[in-house]
Symmetry: C2
Subunit: 318 residues, 2 copies
């Protein structure tokens, strides 16, 4: 059954238990060179190595495993062209049902191919929010598929919370956790896990300055939507949701923004020194760790590398 309330610790533990057979326990890596540059002890939770290349597989898998047999048979639907779409298509393939993905007809072919690779059923629409929503509604009416929202859903939030739950098994009591924020699914899950299990740990939301709606929301105390985001971190363009916003405002310690140049530099540095591929959204908390914040000096920080899906024909520094 889908969760109707803010996930409890038991909900998050249960989420990890049920999704475990279908996801990777991702490694926690360190880099001497990055530690030196940041003057901190950094621990990277590598969700770029997660199934379908991002933490989104956790939430999507949890959402599908929470449906009853009838709901599952009718399939699931979302509008997205990013990592959630791939994760949902993969989860549906594993559970032998359909994932209906509404994508703008302008979506890059590499993203279309990624969804198709997992058997996702794509419906194209005009590249406007109105077209996406009305097309999604039509698809759901026709198929009876269940909407799986990418973040504004407690079942999804509990799924994303398992990344931090695993990280705490790998590194108990960090001083800080740095987490990227877009719609806030990963961040609100992380905040709940930390609140339940390591309340002394401070959580810093890391956001591109070109999509700083969470920073604005934090400063003004109200949900500021992401109206004209412009950043290389293409996974962090969306606004907070009605469910993620209150969890974030209640629990967050700070929001720090970084510009696109710092994000690109951090991304290149991770590729070069750690020999792992991360996408721009993952580089946002790395850029924050390298930005010279005095409170991080000498501290132990967990950094969630959210994903590794990037078009290798478009390298941002070239």
């Amino acid at each position: 059954m889908k969760l109707q309330n803010v996930p409890t610790l038991a909900d998050i533990r249960n989420a990890l238990e049920v999704i475990q057979p279908f996801i990777h326990k991702t490694p926690l890596l360190q880099s001497e060179q990055l530690n030196q540059l940041a003057q901190s002890a950094l621990f990277f939770k590598c969700e770029n190595f997660q199934k379908a290349g991002a933490f989104k597989s956790r939430g999507a898998m949890h959402a599908l495993l929470s449906l009853d047999a009838n709901e599952l048979r009718r399939g699931v639907a979302t509008h997205s062209s990013g990592n959630h779409a791939q994760a949902l298509a993969r989860a549906a393939m594993i559970l032998k049902t359909d994932a209906h993905i509404v994508m703008p007809e302008t979506a890059p072919s590499v993203k279309v191919a990624a969804v198709k690779q997992y058997g996702g059923k794509i419906t194209f629409c005009k590249p406007t929010l109105e077209a996406r929503e009305s097309t999604l509604e039509a698809v759901m009416l026709k198929t009876g598929a269940e909407l799986v929202h990418p973040y504004n859903d407690y079942t999804i939030i509990a799924g994303q919370a398992t990344a931090c739950l695993e990280m705490l098994q790998q590194m108990p009591s960090p001083d800080y956790v740095l987490c990227p924020v877009g719609g806030g699914g990963l961040l609100s899950g992380t905040l709940l896990t930390i609140k339940y299990l390591s309340p002394k740990t401070k959580v810093i939301a890391c956001e591109p300055s070109g999509a700083n709606d969470t920073w604005q929301s934090f400063k003004t105390g109200k949900l500021v939507p992401s109206l004209h985001p412009h950043t290389i971190a293409d996974g962090l363009l969306t606004s907070l949701g009605s469910l993620t916003y209150p969890i974030i405002m209640e629990n967050i310690d700070d929001v720090v923004t970084v510009d696109d140049n710092s994000i690109i530099d951090a991304m290149k540095l991770v590729w070069e020194r750690m020999k792992i591929i991360i996408e721009p959204s993952s580089a946002v908390p790395v850029a924050v760790a390298l930005s010279g914040l005095s409170f991080l000096k000498g501290k132990k920080a967990g950094i969630i590398l959210s994903g590794g899906n990037i078009d290798l024909n478009k390298i941002p520094w070239l």
Copy 2:
């Protein structure tokens, strides 16, 4: 003391024991997607995650730890602009001595920077083999530094052999091991380890068709030098040595060549699907695994990913 004879199993085990505090035990990774493409069970020994970004740290560390205190004080020297130079500079830094590296004045700045980062003392020379050798001789005469050859040295070979020794601890009795070959240090070490510990395993040397001197040597039964190599796999340009050649000819099962397009495709595929950075030389055995060889179908193969050092401003498929 430096090894004077073909390394025994005891030599290789001892090498691993002495270098262990200074190197990474690198992970052995798998990829469902690459298994499907190759129709084999592939296990990737990730020396791209090794210290200084390549397996060369094993041999260099072993060579320096084999010197006596007097020799060590006088420092070490080599001519190389590649991974051996970085590995030697790093080993010298750890053991608080000097690494004198002779490099052609045309060496890419990224390689110069990499050696300097580990405190290597660089002497530039004209970009000819004669200039490199005479400059190296002059440096050695002046400093009393000990030559550490990148591969034609039993102490180095025993060091490189530890990559396969570790791999066998992580995956006992593979059907095949696929190993890149340039000068043959890694390959001859791998062959010795396999001969001693898993003699039923077949070892396939993997070579770029544009630098196919090992293939030619294997076919003709004599040491054919690498005269005008032309390949993207810049770590595999050199000829076999007088010490590596006989070990290879006595123990190798086959040599398979792949062209540069296959190497680049394999490299991109590993970046894209496994989210790890490998250099072109590492992609050579991957390209072999993906080339549809019938004898690999359904078999378990260990693949040594030799390194991950690449200029990220020059991506070969762009």
